[in-house]
């Protein structure tokens, strides 16, 4: 399993199909923002998102959406606040703000959000 640092440094992307976003890491998800939707409930009964951890990746199913690509504009991202598995969740330094841009051919570009992007934890 690659670390988040490796993924960002080596520009390793994820994928998306329909309402499913596949990211190549395991993490504790604290907050996900897609359009105006602010998701903080990641329990199995969550109505907004279903997070399924597989061996080498994590699938996020956005339950209110049929097709992620058609819902987001070219400049809009899905924003995640995550803590990499194994790191101390209570240490704010470990909270990583990630932006996922949906590109053509089902490629999801993963970037750490820079200071320009508005994303409040």
């Amino acid at each position: 399993m690659k670390t988040l640092d490796e993924i960002i440094k080596n520009k390793i992307g994820g994928m998306y199909y329909g309402n499913r976003l596949i990211v190549p890491f395991h993490a504790h998800f604290l907050k996900v923002v897609i359009e105006k939707e602010i998701i903080t409930d990641f329990s199995p009964s969550s109505k907004g998102i279903s997070v399924i951890e597989e061996d080498d990746f994590t699938s996020l199913y956005f339950l209110d959406y049929d097709d992620l690509k058609s819902s987001l504009s070219e400049y809009e991202s899905i924003k995640l606040v995550v803590v990499e598995k194994g790191n101390d969740i209570f240490n704010f330094k470990n909270h990583r703000k990630i932006a996922v841009y949906l590109e053509e051919k089902h490629i999801a570009r993963i970037e750490e959000t820079d200071a320009d992007i508005l994303f409040i934890e």
Partner: protein, 462 residues
């Protein structure tokens, strides 16, 4: 969208069929049935309750709901009242409204302001005061779109919903009470004959105490906010302010100048009647296209530019503009019947409350019409508007102040309110619901301040 285009086409055919809009403009029309207020009430209730109780359904279907309710009113006016003039007039106002909002939204979306300063209550007060002043130059919509992102960025480590609420109060609404560019109702007054500088000359001494009180309340609340979400991370600030995409300032200037390209202001500007748009709207819609196509892609990415906030406003307000026609006509009728009994205080509260719930521009015109009726003057005659302004300024003061100030009491009181809310939610800020906004913020903070304003300036006058 297709429905809207069909309606536009129908309107055009009707207008062409009936000669011109202007020839019909003076015709008296039958009042609508009181029951026709129901679509408007239903739409307001759904805007208020949808995001709370049936969010999924609302988010997927609000365009259809807003348009369908609007169509009910349109059909009633077409078939039962045979009143095409009012519909055309409303369509023209809607297109003018959405042209201004969308052009300011897109042009300012291509500008990035980076403020790397530590957030303090004093800095925030200065920022909001600057926003209030600038909203008189580029409009409350332009100022809101330009400044909301840097305001969030400055406060990113300690932001709370109240920051945004005060931004809506001050920059998106109350700040813009000094010039006709500031807020649409004042601009409509200007088009009807109110001199450009009348507002600032007659409203500044009301505007200043209102601003001081609201900023004072904000300063106190903000001083209690000691939160820093990343307390264990050392923050360093360069104190720099950077701008990117400054070429879009040219587009903003074009939009502001085009506001005056109206046959009522400049006699050489041709009217495109019976079309429901004019040269001004064509320029504004052109700016939407050109400024988006030529914008710096990095800035658009940093601003996470998306048309969704303006689409949301466009859909909701097409329903609001259509369904509020009966309500506005009934209010105008009642106001004209009761005009001799209406004093400045009543004009202030009535204009204010209705501006918060309806659109403030037509509300302003209806009450201005009623106030002028007290002296037997006609709002449709420019010289009589100018005569009214000289005659007794207290009514126009009350109506102008209330129409702008009270636009802050709900999310739907003024166009930029909803857009600011939408941008903040996309940035991950949990914004208060429609009712929470009213009951926790407007009623607690604004209504007492507006009551003080009324007590000092309008009680027992007129």
């Amino acid at each position: 969208m297709i429905l809207l285009l069909v309606l536009l086409f129908d309107f055009y055919l009707l207008a062409a069929d009936s000669g011109s809009i202007i020839s019909e403009s003076q015709t008296e029309h039958q009042l609508p049935d009181t029951l026709m207020v129901i679509p408007f009430v239903v739409l307001l209730l759904m805007i208020a309750t949808g995001p709370l109780f049936y969010k999924h359904f609302w988010e997927h279907h609000y365009p259809k709901i807003a348009i369908s309710l609007g169509v009910v009113t349109v059909i009633y006016y077409l078939i039962f009242l045979k009143n095409t003039y009012t519909l055309l007039h409303t369509l023209a106002e809607y297109l003018s409204f959405i042209a201004l909002l969308s052009s300011l939204f897109v042009a300012s979306g291509g500008i990035l302001i980076k403020v790397d300063k530590k957030s303090t209550p004093l800095l925030n007060v200065l920022f909001l005061a600057f926003g209030a002043i600038i909203s008189n130059v580029i409009g409350t919509t332009g100022a809101s779109m330009l400044l909301i992102r840097p305001f969030i960025k400055i406060n990113r480590d300690r932001i709370k919903p109240y920051h945004i609420i005060f931004f809506i109060f001050i920059v998106s609404n109350i700040g813009g009470a000094l010039t006709p560019i500031g807020d649409p109702p004042l601009f409509l007054g200007f088009l009807r004959g109110v001199p450009f500088f009348w507002v600032i000359e007659n409203v500044w001494f009301i505007w200043i105490p209102a601003m001081v009180l609201i900023l004072g309340v904000f300063f106190i609340i903000d001083s209690f906010n000691k939160e820093n979400k990343e307390t264990d991370i050392e923050q360093t600030y360069s104190g720099k302010i950077e701008f990117k995409g400054l070429k879009n300032l040219v587009y903003l200037a074009i939009i502001i100048i085009s506001v005056f390209i109206d046959p009522a202001v400049l006699s050489f500007v041709p009217s495109l009647s019976p079309l429901p748009i004019g040269i001004r709207e064509i320029i504004m819609f052109s700016v939407v296209y050109i400024s988006f196509k030529t914008a710096d892609k990095d800035v658009l990415k940093a601003n996470e530019f998306d048309f969704e906030p303006i689409k949301e406003v466009a859909y909701l307000f097409v329903g609001i503009f259509a369904t509020m026609i009966p309500a506005l006509q009934l209010i105008a009728h009642e106001a004209s019947v009761l005009r001799d009994e209406l004093n400045a205080g009543i004009f202030y509260w009535a204009t204010g409350i209705l501006s918060g719930l309806l659109d403030n521009a037509p509300t302003y015109l209806n009450f201005l019409s009623a106030a002028m009726g007290k002296y037997g003057l006609d709002i449709n005659i420019k010289s009589e508007v100018q005569e009214f302004v000289i005659h007794d300024e207290i009514y126009l003061q009350a109506i102008s102040v209330a129409a702008v100030f009270f636009g802050a009491i709900t999310y739907i009181g003024n166009g930029p309110n909803f857009m600011v809310k939408s941008i903040c939610e996309r940035a991950g800020i949990n914004m208060p619901s429609f009712f929470t906004y009213i009951f926790r913020y407007s009623i607690i903070i604004l209504i007492p301040i507006f009551t003080i304003i009324w007590y000092i300036f309008f009680l027992g006058k007129g």
